[in-house]
Symmetry: C2
Subunit: 164 residues, 2 copies
């Protein structure tokens, strides 16, 4: 991981911690930030492995796996194990998943990241430092968190994940 990517990861963390964190979306909507992010990645990249998703969204494979478990249980995505390489698993959106996603607002994350990447390093560092100061000031929690997407009630734990 080069220096550039470190900055990028930091930026993604900032985005997750502000715009798209679960505390914002889960208030009234059925999908959390990471869930939306992963579903968009699947939509945009087509047939995509768990490892590729993890790279794109800067999360561990283990985290992506557990999030996909929840999405699969709600029948928003499904998995297909590759026949070429049986280690790999491809994730796909179901019809319902694609439908819900099409009605979700686009946060322009990827555009933003692409533009950010085109900046000089000193510019990136300056922006990140500024964001840090902003984040420190945000404890007041006086920003409106209006509902973004409504796909029904949040998943209840009805024991769908049977233990071995």
């Amino acid at each position: 991981m080069n220096n550039h990517e470190h900055v990028l990861v930091a930026l993604r963390r900032v985005i997750r911690a502000t715009d798209l964190h679960s505390k914002r979306l889960s208030k009234n909507a059925g999908l959390t930030g990471p869930q939306l992010l992963i579903m968009r990645t699947i939509r945009d990249l087509g047939e995509v492995t768990i490892g590729t998703i993890a790279d794109k969204v800067s999360l561990s494979q283990a985290t992506v796996t557990t999030i996909l478990d929840r999405l699969e249980h709600r029948q928003l995505v499904y998995r297909v194990r590759s026949t070429q390489d049986k280690r790999k698993v491809h994730a796909h959106l179901t019809e319902g998943g694609a439908d819900i996603l099409s009605r979700a607002p686009n946060p322009l994350q990827e555009d933003f990241i692409k533009k950010f990447q085109s900046l000089h390093e000193w510019e990136q560092n300056m922006i990140l430092a500024s964001l840090q100061r902003v984040a420190n000031m945000m404890d007041a929690d006086d920003i409106d968190a209006s509902p973004v997407l409504d796909v029904g009630p949040v998943l209840k734990d009805d024991g769908w994940k049977e233990k071995a």
Copy 2:
């Protein structure tokens, strides 16, 4: 792995190198020694994972995987991925596989191993040393290798294993 087990592994190697190695069986029959050994393990243990097979036959998981590939291609076994633990894969015999196996001679390997295990360690070591001497004398290759099992021609490489 304790001392006892080391002896057992050595013994299995001796068995493979003499009675059941592929050079003996593949002459006229369709199944090699390791293939038979693995199929018997599946039959005797029922729903069994690759790791368990590898333990039982003292081979690496990787080796068992490749041998199962060939057996599966010949439709003698099939794999089912566990729903409880998606890392695991269960191997089963197909009807045809069970049929062929029922007509194969039983080499009494497991009986032999069990009896051997009941011996004192110095006895085991003595026997292994004797076997080693016998093995050194076997280069003459004057032992008849009569066909044991005939299930048709040996698998030809018709490109069934497509590369990624």
